[in-house]
């Protein structure tokens, strides 16, 4: 992050907290509204703003009692949100488009990651310049993951020995020629810690660059609870502004929840995430900002990949209306 973004966020914070206190005054009699947000993964640095908003009482100021429920390898936040067992969820941009393709009407409210931290990891000295070079290698890829479908349509990957990636890296380590899907914020750090030297290439270098950690609700919920959504998104943004400046307290909180995540790794992740979260459009428009162009590109790319069966309008799928104006 840079200085400018920092100061911009500060000024915004004041503004937002003012309006927050206004609304709390007017609705003081109201009870706290309970909502639940399902994360896309176990709590980590990428969820810092949400935890900060909760911890700092931004949600409470907006009359919200938010339960943060971490996800997991097989937890489908989309199904939980669409079934109503949670109101808010985090998912990747392409997941939201694919859900829409299956008739699940979700609306993205904010994108935590402006760019995708998804990457391919290689052993040091075995990296690639161009994605075509993956051909002929062993690739540990989660079956069905969207960008892989896109890659298959765009590059010649006919000769890739595709092996299901299940979260374990042992087999990657074993085979110096292999490729492993990773999150930039995690694996490379852990590899280094184990003394395995790696290099990475971002997926987004291919032009496939969906928003990641996208906050969303169902269309129905949005229509019926606009006020709640606005409150939530506002507090969410405030949380991120706070987290951007003073991450340590929140990271410690996450570490407490999740002792398996060492402070070291959380700090690393946080630093890596900074560029993705606060950079790009967010530098100018604030955390969570999204554009129609990016969504359309994504939809087109998925269409090219042959994943789409129905036509989806980008404007249908996201809204920045509830994000604080910048």
């Amino acid at each position: 992050g840079g200085d400018e973004t920092g100061s911009a966020a500060e000024s915004e914070e004041e503004e937002v907290s003012d309006s927050a206190s206004d609304s709390t005054e007017s609705e003081e009699i109201q009870e706290l509204e309970s909502v639940k947000i399902v994360l896309n993964w176990f709590a980590n640095a990428g969820h810092g703003g949400i935890y900060a908003a909760d911890d700092q009482g931004y949600f409470a100021e907006k009359n919200l009692d938010v339960t943060i429920e971490p996800g997991g390898p097989q937890v489908s936040s989309i199904q939980m949100v669409s079934s109503g067992s949670a109101e808010f969820g985090l998912a990747h941009g392409d997941q939201i488009v694919i859900a829409r393709n299956q008739g699940i009407e979700l609306v993205a409210l904010a994108a935590i990651n402006q760019r995708s931290p998804q990457a391919f990891m290689f052993h040091k000295g075995h990296g690639i310049d161009d994605f075509d070079e993956i051909n002929g290698r062993k690739a540990f890829i989660q079956p069905g993951i969207a960008y892989w479908e896109y890659f298959k349509s765009k590059y010649d990957l006919s000769d890739v020995n595709e092996v299901a990636f299940t979260g374990d890296h042992t087999n990657f380590i074993q085979d110096v020629d292999s490729v492993n899907q990773v999150y930039l914020t995690g694996e490379p750090f852990f590899m280094e810690q184990q003394g395995v030297e790696t290099e990475v290439k971002l997926i987004s270098d291919s032009g496939y660059d969906p928003y990641q950690y996208v906050l969303y609700v169902t269309k129905d919920y949005l229509e019926e609870n606009e006020e709640t959504v606005r409150n939530f998104v506002t507090a969410f943004s405030e949380g991120w502004e706070y987290f951007k400046e003073t991450p340590t307290g929140t990271l410690e909180l996450i570490h407490e929840h999740n002792p398996d995540q060492s402070m070291e790794s959380l700090n690393y992740a946080n630093e890596t995430f900074e560029e993705f979260i606060y950079g790009g459009d967010a530098a100018e428009h604030g955390v969570g900002y999204m554009t129609e162009e990016r969504w359309s590109t994504l939809i087109n790319q998925l269409d090219e990949a042959g994943v789409m069966e129905v036509e989806v309008e980008a404007t249908d799928i996201f809204t920045t209306e509830y994000l604080p104006e910048k």
Binding site: S83, I104, P143, G144
Partner: protein, 287 residues
């Protein structure tokens, strides 16, 4: 002098009577055997069809049977090869479970010392999360088919061992004495006494193991990957889950379940055949 002929006619009469009774009973027998399951099936399907509607659950949460059927029809080209692959994997896994399971139990049962020393490692193999050992399995057996069979084995062998051991240790004391008396060797006792009298337990273990082997094959595909080959149901399920194709996911699940029932019936039939001549669970007693 005429007695024998009277005898014969009478017997004849009895036999023919029995036969005609049998024929008349075809319908009532049908009712008895199949009516229940059929009714249950329809009830099950109706409930399943209505629940999502009543609770307002969308097809991507809990697809209705009709959605699933649609998915099956639509994606039959994907489903059918996946089923075939899973069948092969799980049969292999089951056979390996059964053979190794029984062999190991027999070995363990042949000495208390051996049982006490080695059995804990069988429990370890069963309880240690497959995720933990999967990498080693993959390293040793290569990604894909072999590893999947190994994982299916890891998941399916324990019921066989546990039950077989229990059976081998449940030999009737008096029969055991008989073998002691006739100075039967350890292996004679095993083959001619302990294994036959453990058969009901072994069969019960196989019944459990055969369904677990399918679970194992699916988990195996999930965990050990599909190597270079085509994916089975486990692969399809993963993909369907990620793409939120819930009806197809259910179709895969139900395919797995039907495989399970099929396996179970086959193994039950085998068990009936093995125990038919003497064990209460399988023989028809004429009263």
């Amino acid at each position: 002098m005429s007695m024998p002929s009277v005898e014969v006619t009478k017997k004849q009469k009895l036999l023919t009577k029995k036969a005609s009774v049998k024929e008349n009973n075809v319908w009532s027998k049908f009712k008895q055997i199949y009516l229940g399951p059929i009714v249950a099936f329809f009830i099950f399907i109706s409930i399943w069809q209505t629940v999502p509607v009543l609770l307002g659950l969308k097809h991507y949460i809990l697809p209705k049977p009709t959605d699933v059927v649609n998915a099956v029809v639509q994606d039959w080209g994907l489903l059918w090869p996946a089923v075939q692959i899973t069948v092969v994997e799980s049969i292999m896994g089951f056979v390996v479970s059964a053979v190794i399971g029984i062999m190991v139990s027999v070995l363990l049962a042949s000495s208390k010392m051996l049982e006490r020393s080695i059995y804990p490692y069988a429990i370890i193999l069963q309880t240690i999360p497959v995720v933990a050992v999967a990498p080693i399995v993959v390293i040793w057996f290569g990604a894909g088919f072999n590893s999947i069979v190994v994982i299916s084995f890891l998941i399916g062998f324990f019921p066989v061992i546990s039950n077989t051991l229990m059976g081998l240790n449940s030999v009737d004391k008096n029969m055991d004495d008989l073998f002691t008396l006739y100075n039967a060797s350890k292996w004679q006792r095993m083959w001619k006494l302990r294994i036959p009298s453990a058969l009901p337990y072994i069969m019960a273990g196989l019944k459990i193991s055969c369904t677990l082997s399918i679970v194992g094959a699916i988990v195996g595909e999930y965990i050990a990957g599909i190597g270079g080959g085509k994916g089975g149901l486990g692969y399809s399920i993963t993909v369907a889950a990620i793409q939120v194709k819930t009806p197809y996911l259910f179709a895969c699940g139900i395919a797995a379940a039907m495989l399970g029932i099929g396996f179970y019936l086959l193994v039950s039939l085998f068990a009936k055949f093995m125990l038919r001549s003497w064990h209460e669970s399988a023989m028809k007693v004429e009263k």
